[in-house]
Amino acid sequence: MIQVCSLKKQFNNIMVLDDVNIDFNTKEVTCILGPSGAGKSTFLRCLNLLEEPTAGKILYNGKNTLDENFDVRQLREDVGMVFQHFNLFPLKSVVENVMLALVLVKKMPKKMAREKALEMLKKVGLSDKADVMPHTLSGGQQQRVAIARALAMEPKMLLFDEPTSALDPELVGDVLAVMRNLAKEGMTMIVVTHEMGFAKEVADRILFMADGNVVEDASPDVFFTNPNTQRAQAFLSRFIA
């Protein structure tokens, strides 16, 4: 579905992504792990072009996303994203948050959009919060609204950028439960996370990144029991200890 070829990203003089080559397949749940500063978030943000790569190619269904004629907006409609800090729209109610892009981007009539939005909120367990303002919700609830907002667009793929890192520990579980259900339904997901338990249980594939590159690409069974590289071993030992 997405092929990344020789991807490089440089901020000023710092090479954040250094020649990344990787393919992502449909219906696969990939978790990206690694120490902070490894380039995980930057890599994820390159996939929907929130960051513009310095060099290399990203093919989406065979088409080069960096081509001048490529429809970036359509790509972003297909590839949803959930952010670490939720990024809900503060002046809009919960249901309006979910509806907005349906009305503006999908040109759906408001009534239909609202119904669709309510359906998505039900899916993340927040039907009763449709008409409240986002700031009255807990972090975990806000993140589930953000997931509902991304889902409403009927994306072919979802990117999660540390979706639970900004949450209080007791709120992480609800968000992970929603993500687990999505994985079960066959959603293609790429998740940057520090939740080892989630990665072990839900991921079909683990990418371990360090120093701007993917240093391991393995199934969770292999990665968590028998990592190939010393970097991964060192990284995992800190979580087991």
Binding site: N48, L50, N87, L91, L100, A101, V105, R149
Partner: protein, 219 residues
């Protein structure tokens, strides 16, 4: 000492002036707001050329007194371009240009205050730049700039008083004319001050009601 009998004469003159003051202030603030939003917005974009032009504009306007700007617009520019303005048009131009420079700084600050994540959320949902600006960036920016904007409106209304130097028949001009011909200086200028006090007080009440309605200060 205070000649009460002059009040019925000067009162209607200042009321005449009030109409002109309000006309110029309203048009000046409207035009100033539109120019200010544009100038403030371009300074937050990546366009170096537009941003420099806007910064230059703000620099010129903020670095010269409004009274000099009024004289320049009414006396100098028509002579240079070989055109003529009537006083009122020159007055509105002066007020709107001056207000726009200050408003653009308010707008720039408020736009920069909206978290970058709002842009990213909008883009990630497939929205285009204009949809994001009008639905996600301007509304919270407008809300946060409301107190500063209200303050600027108050300043702008009072700034119309200096248009008296180019002979615009607003309140200060009317009071001044009467004072000069009748020598009832105390009465004229006291009443004039009261008029400004009432106008600004009404505006202050309207602005704080608006702020309450928009939920400024609440999060």
């Amino acid at each position: 000492m205070f000649d009460w009998s002059s009040i019925p004469i000067v009162f209607p003159k200042i009321v005449d002036g009030l109409q002109m003051t309000i006309l110029i202030a309203v048009l000046g603030i409207l035009a100033g707001f539109i120019i200010g939003v544009c100038a403030g917005y371009v300074r937050t974009t990546k366009s170096k050329a537009l941003s420099s032009i806007a910064a230059f504009y703000v620099w010129i306007i903020r670095s010269t007194p409004i009274i000099v700007q009024a004289l320049y617009i009414y006396f100098v520019i028509p002579r240079m371009l070989d055109i003529s303005f009537n006083r009122e048009i020159a007055g509105i131009l002066c007020i709107s240009i001056n207000a726009s420079a200050y408003i653009s700084e308010i707008v720039r600050g408020a736009l920069n205050e909206v978290p970058k994540g709002q842009w990213e959320a909008g883009y990630s949902l497939g929205m285009n730049k204009f949809q994001i600006l009008f639905h996600l960036i301007f509304p919270p920016a407008f809300k946060s700039m409301l107190p500063a904007l209200g303050n600027q409106f108050i300043i702008t209304i009072k700034d119309t008083a200096i248009l008296t130097v180019i002979g615009v028949a607003e309140m200060t001009y009317q009071a001044g004319q009467y004072a000069a011909t009748s020598f009832n200086l105390v009465e004229s200028y006291t009443l004039l001050a009261l008029f400004y006090l009432v106008v600004i007080s009404i505006l202050t009440i309207v602005l704080s009601a608006l702020e309450r309605k928009m939920g400024v200060d609440r999060r």
